[in-house]
Symmetry: C2
Subunit: 341 residues, 2 copies
């Protein structure tokens, strides 16, 4: 299909549009910026839109923001790396639904800043809503954002924020599901692998907490084990287990990659899975079903749909929701039982 | 450390700041918006900044954009999902470096729109630079963006764009490296797995093209094979191979997950890897070294550093670079030889 091709040369202005449409520049700006409460006939609106289209004139988002006082931006100052394919897919789906509701979804490249400094940076955009990790919000930061007139600030976290409404992504439940399953299987001692890579503590600590909570209720032993993603190191760990009559009879491996690493080491050391040691992973990656024995893994399922979440955000913007008692569970963790446990 | 806590209540304005600092509102706006060419003493600037800080006043990004005519935004209307951990990590590093150069990095949630409609949407932000997949740019879209005064538009793609400067992410080279290695190994017939999942064609087609180009130069047979990520289907494929004297003696598996799938099926069918069939994956995931035989895989390495790329973008903004002959290779593909080939 042939596209309309705007004139080349200098950037067209609203003055050009006004001249072509035979209306005032103010009218052009009212029409193209959807200024509220303006009485302008549909005929005039149509003339202005046609003129703008034929000239390739684009109204200025900043101008519209200043005029309307709001930006319709949903600002998400989140990192992409380490987010995981699942979370990224959820985020894209959410963006799609928010656009359907008329918002501009902005993943702002600031993915580290926290506290009031970051809050001032975010506030510059005058977003309708901000979604950010709970750990980057402080009382002063939240006050700053509310004082600047941001309708709603939503925290993302493992647990409800004491400051603002929270979307909970429950890593603790991932460890809990694994431990509940191993308790059912009658295991008495769980080694919990804690990856040494930087940045994973935010996931591994709550997962360990989930294992510990459930294990305590069942009188099961829990031992956290620091481990790098390294075959030799895993081999050394398993060699010590092979020589130890009091070795753990179960491993929660943090994720499926570490589960594959430890299963390989157990096989090489002649320890049987699940006979001697049961192994449970997390993420339910493609590799899980391809391992022998097939890997039991905790799968994280989206609870509410992206449309649900988008509508929730839209409602919070319109109600200017600020009540920390508003908590919304984003995911639920399920155990996928296979052969390794 | 205690943070300064701004007053609660209504949002503070530049008028409040002017009153507290004992200067005019214009002066406040000049100072806080870094208006160029304004003669204002450091003492006055300090007074204004202190007043703004104590009130928790945040200047309006939109106002600054309108006043300065530029936004310092680098707009990346890219999807997160399907980006891959490596690309996401590169992107975060690039964002970090661009912020260091004073840009605001915006991953705009529009990750599908193409052509002039999308161009008008992007142009609203008046970004200093736009990075977007080559396939979403049309001649009319590029003209629209340039006419709106966007200093530079950069395409991301497998091959140079005919319209604007391009950052090339060379998927073709991934297939080429695999085929060169299999040619050295004296293989005569390569099956190229083509995942059936939607959205992967943009990666699988150029990888197949790379295999075909190199194979042709060595008189090697190439057969593309559609395959879903399914053990039964992979088993059926390999069963046909087991019965076929003219079966391929090598597989390029698209990525390491598919390599693991096909290796499992080959093992179950009693075909030896690499004896009967050599297998090469791509991505060099953690699982590659854990498979038995250990998986040969094409690893994608970052060519230039994030700092290099950021400086290149900054230079293109300042030069208003629009010459399609500017091409910048983002990555290089290397074969990691292990036991499966």
């Amino acid at each position: 299909m042939e596209e309309p091709t705007p004139r080349t040369g200098r950037a067209p202005t609203s003055v050009d549009v006004a001249r072509l449409a035979g209306v005032s520049q103010a009218t052009v700006s009212y029409v193209l910026n959807d200024a509220p409460g303006m009485r302008i006939t549909e005929a005039t609106r149509a003339k202005v839109r046609e003129a703008a289209a034929s000239l390739g004139y684009v109204p200025h988002a900043s101008a519209r923001t200043l005029r309307s006082g709001r930006s319709d931006i949903v600002l998400m100052p989140l990192p992409r790396a380490g987010m995981g394919a699942l979370a990224a897919a959820h985020l894209d789906a959410l963006g799609e639904e928010l656009r359907r509701l008329g918002y501009k979804v902005v993943l702002y490249g600031d993915d580290r800043g926290k506290g009031i400094g970051a809050a001032r940076d975010w506030a510059q955009w005058r977003p309708s809503a901000i979604l950010v990790e709970a750990g980057r919000l402080t009382r002063a930061a939240v006050r700053q954002l509310h004082d600047t007139g941001i309708p709603t600030v939503v925290a993302l976290g493992d647990a409800p924020s004491p400051l603002v409404p929270t979307f909970v992504f429950d890593n603790e439940a991932i460890g809990a599901r694994a431990a509940e399953h191993l308790a059912e299987r009658g295991r008495s001692s769980i080694a919990v692998l804690m990856p040494r890579e930087k940045g994973l503590e935010v996931y591994s600590r709550p997962r360990l907490a989930g294992v510990s909570r459930v294990a305590a209720a069942h009188g099961i032993d829990v031992q956290p084990v620091d481990l790098g993603f390294d075959e030799e190191e895993a081999g050394g760990l398993v060699a010590r287990w092979a020589a130890d009559p009091h070795r753990p009879d179960a491993v929660f491996a943090y994720n499926d990659d570490y589960a594959m690493l430890i299963m390989r080491a157990l096989e090489d050391a002649g320890l049987r899975v699940p006979g001697d040691v049961a192994v449970v992973g997390a993420d339910d990656l493609p590799l899980a079903a391809l391992l022998r024995p097939r890997l039991t893994s905790v799968r994280v399922m989206a609870g509410p749909t992206a449309a649900d979440v988008a509508e929730r955000i839209d409602a919070m913007v319109r109600d200017r929701s600020r009540d920390p008692s508003i908590v919304f569970e984003l995911v639920r963790a399920e155990i996928v039982v296979r052969e390794s446990s």
